[in-house]
């Protein structure tokens, strides 16, 4: 896959020829943290937050340091009501994103 297609896939767009569409693209979310830096509330839309019941695994990814570095802190969470979600913080920009667990 060429870099352009890959970049488009990363942000959930179709490529120039309208053929490929990436699956499980991350969605930007707003996350409220407690004093220790652990997420306690996740909001997909302003004013529509969900409380986090418990936190599962956490891990970190450092990749592609040779071009545009990707540094992420992943947190697997259980939301109130029982839904599972994977959140990650882009440590380069400080933004939070949500993805479906794999």
């Amino acid at each position: 896959m060429n870099p352009e297609t890959m970049r488009n896939a990363e942000v959930g767009m179709r490529n120039g020829s309208d053929r490929l569409r990436a699956l499980n693209v991350q969605q930007r979310v707003v996350v409220e943290l407690d004093d220790s830096g652990a997420p306690v509330v996740v909001k997909r839309e302003p004013g529509n937050g969900k409380r986090i019941e418990s936190i599962g695994e956490t891990w970190r990814i450092d990749d592609e340091w040779w071009r545009m570095p990707i540094v992420r802190r992943y947190v697997e969470v259980i939301l109130e009501g029982g839904g599972r979600l994977v959140l990650f913080e882009d440590l380069m920009t400080g933004e939070w994103f949500a993805q479906m667990p794999t």
Binding site: M1, N2, T5, M6, A9, E10, G12, N15, G16, S17, R19, L20, R21, A22, L23, N24, V25, Q26, I61, D63, I70, V86, Q99, M100, T102
Partner: protein, 430 residues
């Protein structure tokens, strides 16, 4: 158990239609022919890799064996076709049937490549040029009869730049190499005694080699069959073993493998005797399906498609009933064999209760290796049927909503640590 007798021929003609399966798709889908575009056919297995690639796509760097994501990355406008092996098999069977009208010795090698034994044909046609012409003519004449029912052989061979390439020589290897040297629609004839000279200048790519041996030969500076044949046979054997001996002998023209035809099998019969006479059409149809299934599973049928099928019923009071169907396109699929028989059963049913029902396959057309791979059993036929149904449904959805709504999930970088890079959706285009 006695082995069936084989027909053999030392002199051979090789008929070759490159990218046969892809041509089948273009032949039955006019929109592909009218707007040339980069085209590729997916492999008929679970790998989801490319199988055959059209020249336009090759120019963009797309090659057989690539994954879909690799190919789309190189050529975003690439059109992918789902494979329909049963259809290709049927069309190839038509070509074989056409060739068997010219010579009784036919040996299919792979889809789109078949050897025709030509020993004895000189008495009918004359010099090799005339024999080659007769083969072309035989195919053309046969095409007239299949033009309505099938477009494949017609369009594959009758395009302005006919795709059929013919080679003639002693043994299968020489004729195959000659076919690879022929122009589309043309023929190359290697006369007896000229084999060594002809082969000497050919590239080693024509040898049946694995990629590793091929690479090693090139690294040793051996680029032509002449260069290989110039080496001592034992030196080649010491490097490459048994395979080395075979390729050296092929390169030196020491092996002339004959074309081996097959004798058409004896009729296959499957019969069922009922405890009491039955008259209900549904029951008879069910019994017919069972008998066809049993007859198709007969080992003698493997490698052959059924062209003529007959149903005999013994009725109470000594009467009988008979229905015969000659299929325009030979088939190994139960439903296709059953359809004309069931129509006859409905239109002119037996005049009494049936006590014994028998199915006979009396006419056969040669199949191919692919037939044995893809269409030999009912499961493969069912898979092909499901694929066709899916394609039809997809076309209907596209027509209704004006945009594709079905997608394939393809692997992009399944090994990636970033989840969004692992898989992607691509439009499903039947």
């Amino acid at each position: 158990m006695t082995r069936p007798p084989h027909l053999t021929s030392d002199s051979a003609a090789c008929c070759w239609i490159p990218l046969f399966a892809l041509r089948c798709e273009v032949a039955r889908r006019p929109e592909l022919a009218s707007h040339p575009q980069p085209l590729a056919l997916l492999a008929p297995d679970a790998s989801r890799r490319l199988w055959q690639v059209a020249p336009l796509a090759r120019r963009a760097g797309v090659k057989p064996g690539m994954t879909v994501s690799q190919a789309i990355g190189l050529c975003p406008s690439l059109k992918l076709c789902e494979p329909d092996p049963v259809h290709y098999d049927e069309q190839f069977a038509l070509l074989l049937a056409a060739l068997s009208a010219v010579s009784p010795v036919i040996e299919p090698a792979e889809l789109g490549r078949v050897f025709v034994g030509t020993d004895g044909l000189e008495g009918l046609y004359g010099a090799p040029e005339k024999i080659v012409e007769a083969i072309k003519c035989g195919v053309r004449n046969a095409e007239c009869g299949i033009e309505v029912g099938s477009q494949l052989v017609h369009s594959a061979l009758h395009t302005p730049h006919s795709a059929l390439r013919l080679g003639w020589g002693k043994g299968k290897f020489v004729s195959w190499v000659a076919a690879t040297r022929a122009r589309p629609g043309g023929a190359v004839i290697v006369r007896p005694g000229e084999e060594m000279n002809f082969l000497a200048s050919q590239p080693i790519a024509v040898l049946p080699l694995d990629p590793d041996t091929h690479r090693r030969l090139l690294q040793l500076g051996i680029k032509t069959l002449g260069a290989l044949a110039a080496l001592p046979e034992e030196a080649v054997v010491s490097q490459f073993g048994r395979a080395g001996r075979r390729v050296w002998r092929l390169a030196a023209g020491r092996i002339a493998e004959p074309v081996v035809g097959r004798v058409v099998p004896e009729p296959i019969v499957a019969a069922l005797t009922f405890f009491s006479g039955i008259g209900e059409r549904e029951l008879l149809e069910h019994a017919l399906d069972q008998l066809l299934e049993r007859a198709l599973r007969n080992p003698r049928r493997i490698g052959w498609r059924v062209q003529v099928v007959r149903v005999r019923a013994e009725l109470e009071h000594g009467a009988s009933w008979l229905a015969t169907a000659t299929l325009k396109e030979p088939s190994a699929v139960r439903e296709r064999l059953a359809a004309p028989l069931k129509t006859q059963l409905e239109r002119s049913p037996p005049a009494g209760a049936v006590e014994r029902l028998a199915v006979e396959f009396t006419g056969f057309a040669p199949g191919t290796a692919e037939l044995q791979l893809f269409a030999r059993d009912a499961n493969a036929a069912a898979r092909a049927g499901r694929r066709r149904a899916l394609q039809s449904a997809a076309r209907e959805i596209t027509l209704r909503v004006k945009r594709p709504m079905l997608y394939h999930v393809i692997e992009v970088q399944p090994w990636s640590r970033l989840p969004e890079r692992r898989y992607a959706l691509i439009d499903y285009e039947p």
